[in-house]
């Protein structure tokens, strides 16, 4: 069973790695977009899927990371990739400051507050807050990332940067799932009251999930800024948050392979449907509803956790 899983993973990784070799620039770029959204969705998955917090303002964290990279790069000429941890830090810090007062709010209230945060960030960006965000025009001239002198410029080159980053994200998040924090989050999502009763500080762990998820979104923002070389507030609207949220739910909240598949479908679908021009989004909306009705738990839902109990013949008990 485990072997089969490894084979599937290795196989898909191999196909993915070889993809830029026989796809044109456009489809490679589509895969790039999918990659960035995959990372974003994975970061949101931590918040929504693992901690069970309705977050419809994730684009705000994405934006903070992207703008941090853009501003620091264009003003101080610091190489973009070196700013990755900085972007993660600023997004995480922003999430901490914004979420701390509201973390105890109940689910749907938290949802509307996250929408509010997303909108506040977007409006602040458009209005050129503190004079550094460039207003609706945004910031341009962000330099290309370079790794030891090798400049990454073409879609094919970006492909490897993005997907290696995505791969690292998947591995790290997978490890997190089975760590102490991951178990606490899982427990928290299943039953908050019981978790509190077991001594888990739910507010603390929710905050941890939010900050981590935000930090990762911030780093994704950094890569996005480097790829587009221009960023503007239009890329960080409520619609973007909806998109990321949809990927997580459609794929299967709490499930890493589910989220990856969700990213492929949600970002890839409108591109495949390009020839339908103006009906593109109509079909997308209908598809979202249909997917929810016919497969509520998502396409590849999170499997219940299995733990091996020593001494038992059947090899596992489900929790």
């Amino acid at each position: 069973m485990k072997n089969r899983k490894l084979v599937v993973i290795a196989g898909s990784a191999a196909v993915l790695a070889a993809a830029p070799l026989f796809l044109d620039a456009y489809w490679t770029d589509v895969l790039n977009n999918i990659g960035i959204y995959a990372v974003l969705a994975l970061s949101l998955n931590l918040i929504v899927g693992h901690a069970g917090l309705f977050n419809l303002g994730h684009a705000a964290f994405y934006a903070v990371g992207a703008y941090t990279a853009a501003i620091l790069n264009t003003t101080y000429h610091i190489p973009v990739l070196a700013l990755l941890p900085v972007c993660g830090f600023t997004s995480g810090l922003f999430a901490l400051l914004a979420a701390r007062p509201i973390i105890h709010l109940r689910g749907d209230y938290l949802c509307i507050v996250t929408i509010g945060i997303g909108e506040i960030v977007r409006i602040a960006l458009i209005n050129n807050i503190f004079g550094i965000t460039g207003g609706d025009n945004g910031i341009f001239g962000i330099s290309r990332p370079s790794v030891f002198g090798y400049v990454i410029r073409s879609p094919q080159q970006f492909f490897y940067l993005i997907w290696i980053f995505a791969g690292i994200t998947v591995i790290l998040f997978h490890l997190l799932e089975y760590s102490r924090v991951g178990r606490a989050l899982n427990y928290l999502r299943e039953d908050e009251v019981a978790a509190e009763g077991s001594g888990i500080d739910t507010a603390h762990y929710k905050l941890v999930a939010l900050v981590l998820g935000a930090a990762w979104a911030g780093m994704a923002g950094n890569i996005y800024a480097a790829k587009m070389s221009i960023i503007s507030p239009g890329s960080f609207s409520f619609w973007e948050s909806v998109l990321m949220f949809a990927i997580v739910i459609l794929g299967g909240a709490g499930s890493i392979p589910g989220v990856l598949l969700g990213a492929f479908l949600i970002i890839g679908m409108p591109e495949v449907f390009r020839q339908f021009a103006s009906a593109r989004m109509l079909i997308f909306g209908a598809a979202m509803v249909a997917m929810m009705i016919f497969r509520t738990q998502g396409l590849l839902p999170a499997r219940p956790r299995k733990y091996r109990l020593a001494g038992l013949p059947s090899g596992g008990v489900e929790t």
Binding site: D29, N33, G138, M228, S232
Partner: protein, 373 residues
């Protein structure tokens, strides 16, 4: 599942590459969906009319012309993908798009793949300050319109001016530029400079606030939808100050939205309306468009897209080639005073359109747009 999708895609791609080499392909990148859908869809309509006529007349250089439309969704990321897609389709050039931030996301892609880009609706100055060889625009820049607007304001003897924009790249750019030009001019004091939120309906709060600042003239640099509402609500308030708008307010729907009474006396700066051009082409074009779609084109930017198309196909016909370097060079140096729908077109060394494009219009009591001297 992923594997077979890739395989299928590669086969399709290979097949399409083989089947190519035929018509001259020109790309259209515009907001077919999203908040600017009305602009993008009209751009496509304009090009459809033009390409039909062109092909009916034999095409260009004996070949038919095909327009490949890609949706940029009014969003930079989708636009970049649209640009990538067009770049793989063997297009000679691309017309579009609308919105400076969106155009900017695609500039490098077209430049690197040597595809000529003729923009119809992006007026931010910095787009042509980057030295891109294949980038042109048929729409003038914010600074040109600002000069004309400031001139008109001065001529009207305005002492206290209010400037209102909607925070979009275009509107804020025009507002800033106008403020800059007027700063050098003594006698015009700017008593109010702020923005409204577009796509809303109730602007009474803003109008009340503006009124309290007591301007004797208002310059609104946003779009016709909001302008119409502003005029209507201002009239309801009983405030009779004069308003002027930029070229984005040039749209017959403005009068519909405001009501003829409220719209009377409204000024705006714009490229000459097709009805004011004596040229046969403009008159004929507006007629064909109206015949096909039931109403004349509403937006000046879609007409500018049409001009981009005509300039391009003319250049291809004249140079007898679709080579981007030759075409670019032709457009820079040899295209002079081309009779476009919006006036005469020539390009300067930056790719900007040369010439005094903007005129001032005023709406009369019948709701008609009258050219001012």
């Amino acid at each position: 599942m992923k594997k077979s999708v890739f395989l299928l895609l590669s086969i399709c791609f290979a097949a399409s590459a083989v089947l190519a080499a035929g018509p001259v392909k020109i790309g259209l990148m515009g907001p077919i969906t999203g908040s600017w859908a009305s602009e993008g869809q009209e751009m496509k309509q304009v090009l459809d009319v033009l390409v039909e006529e062109l092909n009916a007349g034999g095409g260009v250089n004996g070949l038919k012309v095909q327009v490949m439309t890609e949706d940029d969704g009014g969003d930079p990321r989708t636009a970049a993908l649209a640009a990538q897609r067009l770049a793989t389709m063997d297009v000679t050039a691309v017309i579009g798009t609308y919105g400076s931030a969106i155009t900017e996301a695609t500039q490098n892609i077209y430049n690197e793949t040597k595809i000529i880009q003729i923009v119809n609706g992006s007026t931010a100055i910095r787009l042509t300050e980057k030295g891109l060889k294949y980038f042109f625009r048929t729409c003038p820049r914010d600074d040109e319109q600002a000069k004309v607007a400031a001139g008109a304001i001065g001529k009207l003897g305005v002492k206290k001016l209010a400037i209102l924009h909607d925070n979009s790249t275009y509107a804020k750019g025009l507002a800033d530029e106008t403020r800059g030009v007027l700063a050098n001019e003594k006698g015009v004091e700017i008593v109010f400079f702020d923005s409204l939120t577009p796509k809303e309906q109730d602007y009474t709060t803003i109008l009340t606030k503006m009124k309290a600042a007591n301007p004797d003239f208002v310059f609104f640099t946003g779009y016709y939808g909001e302008a119409g509402l502003l005029l209507k609500q201002k009239r309801e308030m009983g405030w009779d100050v004069s308003f002027m708008g930029g070229d984005a307010t040039n749209n017959p729907d403005l009068v519909k939205a405001a009501g003829t009474d409220a719209a009377t006396g409204f000024y705006f700066t714009s490229a000459p309306l097709p009805k004011d051009l004596p040229s046969k082409e403009a008159v004929e074009f507006v007629a064909s468009f109206a015949k096909k779609y039931g109403n004349p084109p509403g937006s000046i930017y879609s007409v500018l897209a049409g001009d981009g198309f005509r300039v391009l196909t003319y250049a291809i016909a004249q140079t007898k080639t679709t080579d981007p370097d030759k075409l670019a060079s032709y457009l820079y140096t040899e295209l002079k005073d081309f009779p476009a729908l919006s006036g005469k077109i020539s390009f300067n060394e930056k790719g900007d359109r040369i010439g005094e494009v903007y005129k001032v219009y005023k709406i009369n009591s019948e709701g008609e747009f009258i050219l001012q001297p």
